[in-house]
């Protein structure tokens, strides 16, 4: 099974990377870009896992290892069963 986990900074947390990308895009003339937030994506291949198992361990992994719950939040989805 393949799952995708997106980890991004919480809304109120400063995102210097996103800001810098936005500024760069403005310089290049992409003025439509109002805001950019940058985060991380993890694509994880799980061996022989059922949907139930994934639903148990993926959020656990995300919370313990992939994201720092103090400043980050995460979402996840199953890509291939």
């Amino acid at each position: 099974m393949k799952v995708r986990i997106l980890v991004t900074l919480k809304e109120s947390v400063l995102d210097p990377q996103g800001q810098t990308v936005r500024n760069a895009l403005h310089t290049l003339g992409y003025h439509q870009v109002r805001d950019v937030r940058q985060g991380k994506v993890f694509e994880i291949e799980l061996e022989g896992s059922s949907r139930e198992e994934a639903e148990k361990i993926v959020p656990e992994i995300a919370d313990r290892v992939l994201a720092n719950p103090i400043i980050e939040k995460f979402t996840w989805e199953i890509l291939e069963a």
Binding site: P16, Q17, T20, V21, A24, T27, L28, Q38
Partner: protein
């Protein structure tokens, strides 16, 4: 000769490089501001180390869009000498002036340490003062110095002798341990096909004075000076530092 050191927002080896060129090598040196279009008639452009634009997207990825880089590109196309050190190398890669890309160091940590590099080709504008096989001791300081290129390109670099430096041990052997950042083919520095644009991860400006522990970096600057003198058929005035050397940098960006 006249050197221009580009100042991007976030460059932090700009004055170090300026100091090495002007106060150590005795060359006329100016800063080039990233928002300008004027290269001030320099003979060689140096892109210094640092964290241009914070290196927030990818190292060197945003600097390539700055106004001065449009001029540097033209300058390079016309055969002008361009040297990229560390972040400068990354900028050259991102802007397509040199081939390949940088990945994170293999141990995923920033690395600041002396390394040994072996001169692979001494017949270039950047290495002429050294000799093939010579081992230089020069520090690195980077997070993304793990050179990558697809196989065909690597082969081409090898075939054309475009690899100028490789990480090695103190005797010049290409051991796995010596390749601290995991670069393919131990690559520490390359030159473009035409031979006028060079990028290297180690910092020659940090190895240009005895008091700092090594003077091997001077070989690179001296090579450039020799090459330019030969090309222009005149001698550089040499050590002509008239102003006393100030312990503090001048105001960077006020020009």
């Amino acid at each position: 000769m006249k050197f221009g050191v580009v100042v991007f927002p976030g460059s932090n080896c700009d004055y170090d490089t300026f100091h090495a060129l002007q106060n150590v090598m005795g060359q006329e040196t100016v800063f080039l501001w990233h928002k300008d279009h004027d290269l001030q008639q320099v003979d060689c452009v140096v892109l210094p180390g640092g964290f241009s634009y914070g290196d927030y997207l990818r190292s060197g990825a945003i600097a390539r869009f700055s106004p001065i880089m449009q001029e540097v590109k033209k300058f390079a196309e016309d055969g002008g000498l361009v040297l990229g050190i560390c972040n400068g190398f990354q900028i050259l890669l991102e802007s397509g002036l040199l081939p390949g890309a940088m990945l994170r160091n293999k141990n995923l940590k920033f690395l600041c340490q002396y390394v040994n590099i072996r001169i692979e080709n001494d017949r270039t504008a950047f290495t002429g003062a050294g000799r093939k096989g010579q081992v230089l001791r020069i520090p690195i300081a980077h997070f993304d110095g793990n050179y990558y290129a697809p196989p065909e390109l690597l082969e081409e670099l090898e075939r054309n002798n475009q690899i100028l430096f490789r990480y090695c041990d103190e005797k010049g052997n290409l051991t796995g341990e010596a390749n601290v950042n995991g670069s393919l083919h131990h690559i520490a520095g390359i030159v473009n096909r035409k031979g006028n644009v060079m990028g290297m991860m180690p910092h020659p400006e940090r190895a240009s004075e005895k008091i700092l522990g090594s003077e091997d970096g001077k070989i690179i600057f001296q090579s450039i000076i020799n090459y330019l003198e030969k090309k222009k058929g005149k001698k550089s005035p040499g050590r002509t530092v008239s102003r006393p050397i100030s312990p503090l940098p001048p105001l960077i960006g006020t020009f």
